[in-house]
Symmetry: C2
Subunit: 233 residues, 2 copies
């Protein structure tokens, strides 16, 4: 974890402990700088992070304010750390249905910018939140970045493993989604009916240097998934 | 439009004209500074804006790169300017079903942080993209900010009117959504069947000083709406 990320955590904790509400004014940059004994630029980066995540807002020349309490049980789509951190106070678990190496289809190859003969890790999981089915997930991993993957790793947070063990620097991601009807196979897996609604969700993750390393296709259970996005002008 | 927004537009145009592709390196800050005759901090703000919108990515110490072509026809949810700018090269039109002043329910009052006796503008519209139904929209406007609204205004981009005529400074928004089935009334409006899938989407817009001024509830047509989010770590 980088220093500014730690300071962002401290400030978030500080907001919680003092029960600050939406619209409440926070101490200024100088005061956080002294409180946590870090540089001014570290505080500024931490505040940018908190602003991006919808925790605070800053007004030019006027100060730093709390953005307010979010609805419980919604996943913040802009925190792309994997599910564990996206849903507060929830227990997330994974069931691995399949993990193998294969030569992917041309669509997958294109998304991950692979050569024709390159194989990928193919992973199929069911993800549960508090023991309810959240979604079915299929992922393709670029083996140049995801050097190794096995079932025990895939039964936990892969992103935690990538960052901490493989030292992958996760940069950004493209998310595409639309609403659709479930086919029979998907309905069976999600324990729903054919033609029930679902969210079809695709995400391509890139390293900080722009290399795509994970292309995932998710089908969300319409009764168990709720989403939140903190947007900015 | 602020100066950095203009520079962001110039740079985006520059990327287009030179047919830059994903991963291509762009000129550095200094060179954009000279090209557009603006300050370094204006270029930096413009680049931050383009990074937020998924157009470029920046790597520490290494440079500015193009993030690549997005799929066509997807709405970028992080550009909360109203629909016109979210869908590139599309014709957006609005049909106003109802516009009136009323005392809202307690839920709406809470979202907009209103007093008990405060009335709001209530607006119901159908939004079309290239003459296809995109969604049904219900909006409640805080009259302290949205001082005046009539049918001709509501038949166009309200956000354009708010920014340019009323000089409202739009700051940020909270987006909540989930997948559901259509009820009979909604199905009639969207020209679909009861129990067909839909995206239920709520958005609360705030001024730069944190005052909520628009609470909207949208129901998206599952066949005509596709969404894109450029996410960051």
């Amino acid at each position: 974890m980088l220093k500014y990320e730690l300071v962002a955590q401290y400030i978030q904790q500080f907001i919680k402990e003092n029960s600050f509400q939406a619209g409440d004014k926070l101490p200024n940059v100088e005061s956080f700088k002294n409180k946590y004994e870090v540089s001014k630029s570290t505080v500024i980066k931490a505040l940018e992070e908190l602003e991006k995540n919808g925790i605070i807002f800053q007004t030019q020349g006027s100060g730093i304010y709390v953005r307010g309490n979010k609805r419980k049980g919604y996943m913040n789509l802009l925190i792309s750390h994997g599910f564990k951190d996206e849903i507060e106070n929830a227990t997330v678990s994974y069931k691995v249905n399949k993990l193998e190496e294969l030569i992917p289809s041309s669509n997958v190859r294109e998304q991950l910018k692979l050569r024709e003969d390159e194989s990928v890790y193919f992973l199929e999981r069911i993800i549960y939140v508090n023991k309810e089915i959240l979604c079915k997930e299929i992922s393709y991993f670029n083996k140049d970045i995801v050097l190794f993957l096995n079932k025990p790793i895939a039964e936990g947070s892969i992103f935690h493993y990538l960052e901490n063990n493989l030292k992958v620097k996760i940069g950004f991601s493209d998310i595409y989604f639309q609403v659709d009807k479930l086919n029979e196979h998907e309905a069976n897996i999600l324990k729903l009916q054919e033609d029930d609604p679902c969210l079809r969700y695709e995400q391509i993750f890139y390293t900080t240097t722009g290399i795509p390393f994970d292309y995932s296709q998710l089908v969300y259970h319409y009764g168990n998934a709720q989403f939140y996005i903190p947007a900015h002008k």
